[in-house]
Symmetry: C2
Subunit: 138 residues, 2 copies
Amino acid sequence: MFSNSTKYAIRTIEYLLFNKEGGKNTVGALAKELDIPQPYLSKIMQQLSKSKLISSTKGRGGGFYLSEENMKRPLIDIVICIEGKNVFRECVLGLPECSDDNPCMLHEHFKKFRDSLRQSVCKDGIKFLLSTSQSQKP
Amino acid sequence: MFSNSTKYAIRTIEYLLFNKEGGKNTVGALAKELDIPQPYLSKIMQQLSKSKLISSTKGRGGGFYLSEENMKRPLIDIVICIEGKNVFRECVLGLPECSDDNPCMLHEHFKKFRDSLRQSVCKDGIKFLLSTSQSQKP
DNA sequence: GGATAAAAGGATATAAATATCCTAATTAAA
DNA sequence: TTTAATTAGGATATTTATATCCTTTTATCC
Ligand code: FES
Ligand code: FES
């Protein structure tokens, strides 16, 4: 479905949502907590950082965190950042073009999923998790 | 999103829907028509055939086609056949378990997509395409 | 200012997905 | 019964994704 890189990216951002602005997390800590290979996660964080999907400070005491701006980014941007280019503009079955006029067999199904990712921003993750979880990590 | 193999599989089955039972298609013809590497598609067809998602006859004049039984299979089976095992039971973000009790950030979004693939059978593709297309290949 | 801790970035190794090639088995036609 | 066309299946090559390693830059603490 998604590549490992994308999964890691979303899960990490999801985790960062619980460390509101100022709470910095080192790659080492994140990798351990989320059970992701540390150097690999490091690369992914770099990519996300370049695309302004997460924030970071270098040097001692530094780390990664989400700014208010970061939290407003739609979920789909995370996927696009890692999976590259217009993965969500393309047809899910790899047809040269995705359009309502010439839909593939999964077009309607996929469109709903895609649109829901477009409309949700990272911040919604907090609301969602807090509203549905009983024993979530604080 | 999906692997190339899965995309090829679904697109090919979609194509076969227009050649109702009896109309046999060689791998060569399918590969050419759908712009898929021929020997690679051949492997995929073998896999689909083993899982009874498509039918085939060997020898001269043989080829692949869909039986009525094949057409009743849910779309999700195609994905599972290629992508392997329980790709659709797993969490889309790779968490060890997917459940309503401990949902990931994409759980609700993904669940809808997954369920729509579970509920649609191949045959629906015909209905769907015929109802929405203006200038589809016959 | 020197030591330390962190992200940033380049280069490389490993594993998996994608693709190709070649031979065997099967069937139909000639 | 031979020949040709086709799927089935094994073995292998190529490309891409995944993962690791090492160096550089930046900031903090002492
Ligand atoms: S045409 Fe395939 S997803 Fe839109
Ligand atoms: S928990 Fe992630 S998809 Fe269900």
